[in-house]
Symmetry: C2
Subunit: 339 residues, 2 copies
């Protein structure tokens, strides 16, 4: 049903349409791509492709444009990797290596992605639950007030204020500090509950009640519902493709302001080896049905820290964006795992 030439025609339609933003006709197609057949033949193939729902045309006498389904096929079967140039790779590396701390890494990554792809860039901070503890500091702010400062191996620093049910002495606090530090240092946050399980029994009876209350707060805020942070950039690029968003730019911008939506977007990107692509209607977020999202995880191969990606009109350079996203993710992952 879909022989090689039809696939080739689809690929030609997608690439032409992506670069020109105009419906592409059979004549232009036959000329510009060396298909070796006449426009009439191309027209027959086009009719077949349209019957199968891969392309459509705005009106009877216009050229063809790909449907979401067409893009999907293009991405799955036709799009060949477009390796980045050496210069690009070097630029990515030097740009990222200039970062001074995690915030800076994320900021730079967002900027980099936006510039490379000319799309909206989304970068999730290393997920707490998938990080491990480099240091947990307990600061005795006031007799009944503690500040917990957690530093992860990825450089993320989180703090929580704790109101205590009872007054603690300085001695109690340093005992706490020692007990927590001993068990959590180097541990992954997902393993924290197990690592802390024996804590109440091992501690002096006097501070047990306080201890358990602290533990529950720690576990709840850091493990059960850790705060996910996400950085966004390059929204100005949406206007670059204003033609692709007839009247739909507003819902896109509105959606991007919702933290929940962003999380959903890169929620599946938990694997640094697989690039996910969501195309148009495949997207579960109402306002983003006219956009495509390319995401991937970053971090060590056996389990990413978090995800990053780009968002743009369905009419985007999938091959290029996939390469860029993958390349940036690799460098960021290496950087955070190495440093």
């Amino acid at each position: 049903m879909l022989d090689d030439r039809k696939l080739e025609v689809l690929r030609a339609i997608v690439t032409d349409f992506v670069s020109s933003n105009e419906p592409v006709g059979s004549k232009a197609l036959a000329e510009r791509h060396s298909l070796g057949v006449s426009p009439a033949t191309v027209r027959n193939d086009m009719a077949a492709l349209e019957d199968d729902g891969y392309i459509t045309h705005p009106h009877t006498s216009a050229g063809r444009i790909p449907t979401d389904k067409g893009y999907r096929l293009f991405v799955d079967r036709l799009s060949q990797v477009k390796p980045l140039s050496v210069a690009e790779r070097r630029a990515i590396q030097t740009f990222l290596e200039g970062a001074v701390d995690l915030d800076d890494v994320v900021r730079r990554t967002v900027r980099l992605l936006a510039q490379l792809t000319h799309q909206v860039a989304v970068v999730q901070y290393p997920s707490l639950s998938r990080s491990s503890v480099r240091h947990l500091e307990i600061v005795h702010l006031a007799p009944n007030r503690l500040l917990l400062v957690l530093i992860t191996d990825t450089g993320r620093v989180e703090q929580r204020l704790l109101e205590l049910p009872a007054v603690l002495s300085e001695d109690d606090v340093s005992q706490l500090r020692h007990a927590f530090g001993l068990r959590l240092h180097g541990a992954r946050l997902v393993d924290a509950p197990a690592a802390l399980a024996d804590l109440p029994d091992a501690a002096p009876v006097a501070i047990r009640p306080v201890l358990t209350s602290i533990m529950s707060v720690v576990l709840e805020t850091l493990v059960e519902k850790p705060e996910e942070r996400i950085a966004l950039g390059g929204t100005a690029n949406l206007t670059r493709h204003a033609l692709d968003f007839p009247k739909t730019l507003r819902p896109v911008l509105e959606s991007l302001e919702e933290q929940v939506v962003l999380l959903k977007l890169i929620g599946e990107a938990n694997d640094p080896t697989t690039v996910h692509v969501k195309i148009g209607e495949e997207n579960s977020v109402e306002g983003l049905r006219s956009t495509s999202v390319v995401t991937v995880g970053y971090g060590p191969e056996d389990g990413a820290y978090a995800g990053l990606g780009v968002l743009g009109p369905t009419r985007m350079d999938y091959a290029g964006n996939i390469s860029s996203v993958r390349a940036v993710a690799r460098y960021v992952g290496d950087l955070l795992a190495g440093g």
Copy 2:
């Protein structure tokens, strides 16, 4: 030259144009506003206003629209305060009081401003230099590595990693902790240099070199060039006024992605009692020449923590936005000063 009626005509033009986004003609003006004169008289006034540069018209047979200069006069002399309703005030208060920490306060404030004004909202985090120290914790991460954690009275938490030139003992560190804590607790960050001045002399000779190096890092990062953080929201509102940005939405979005630009925008807002309004060309940022910015400081009356404001098309509801911005600033200021 500008008698009362001409001013009244200008006010009518501005308010009508703001609400309708259409050039306003003499007839409609005379009818809808009870000016007590005929359209012909209004036309004479309009001609005078135009001669003085307060209004203009797109083409010969169109109505008048205000110029930047016209808006300026409107804001300076004509715009009367538009008090918020009790319900609105209550909504602001309850919404803000639900915040759990500073990040949350800022996020909520951005959202609130954007929703109240239907414009882009900009909120600066309490400036470090204008805050005072609630607590400074020194964490001994490794023999030659310290983590400084600063908590300000406004709830802001900053941390800095420090590589030491020499190895420190746990004892040295607690001496440091004590020395810094003693001098800085409750001090404003701008006063930190003075508060720390006697520190090297008072300290044991053994740790003086390390001490001075720490001091210089502390002072540099926290006082001399403190990191300013800014939150942005409601960019989707720009599309609401798409008609006001013929082809200029891109530069606006691009400008708003520059941290420097945002700082510049609210840089002058360092007084909680004075609302600043920048109109169109008055704006020093190239890409924002088609927008107006309403800013004000928030915090205690004798010196704001930082600034906040909104940005939108020059054709905005100045009276309403000024009221909203002022009201929100007051509640946020009270909240942070009180809590």
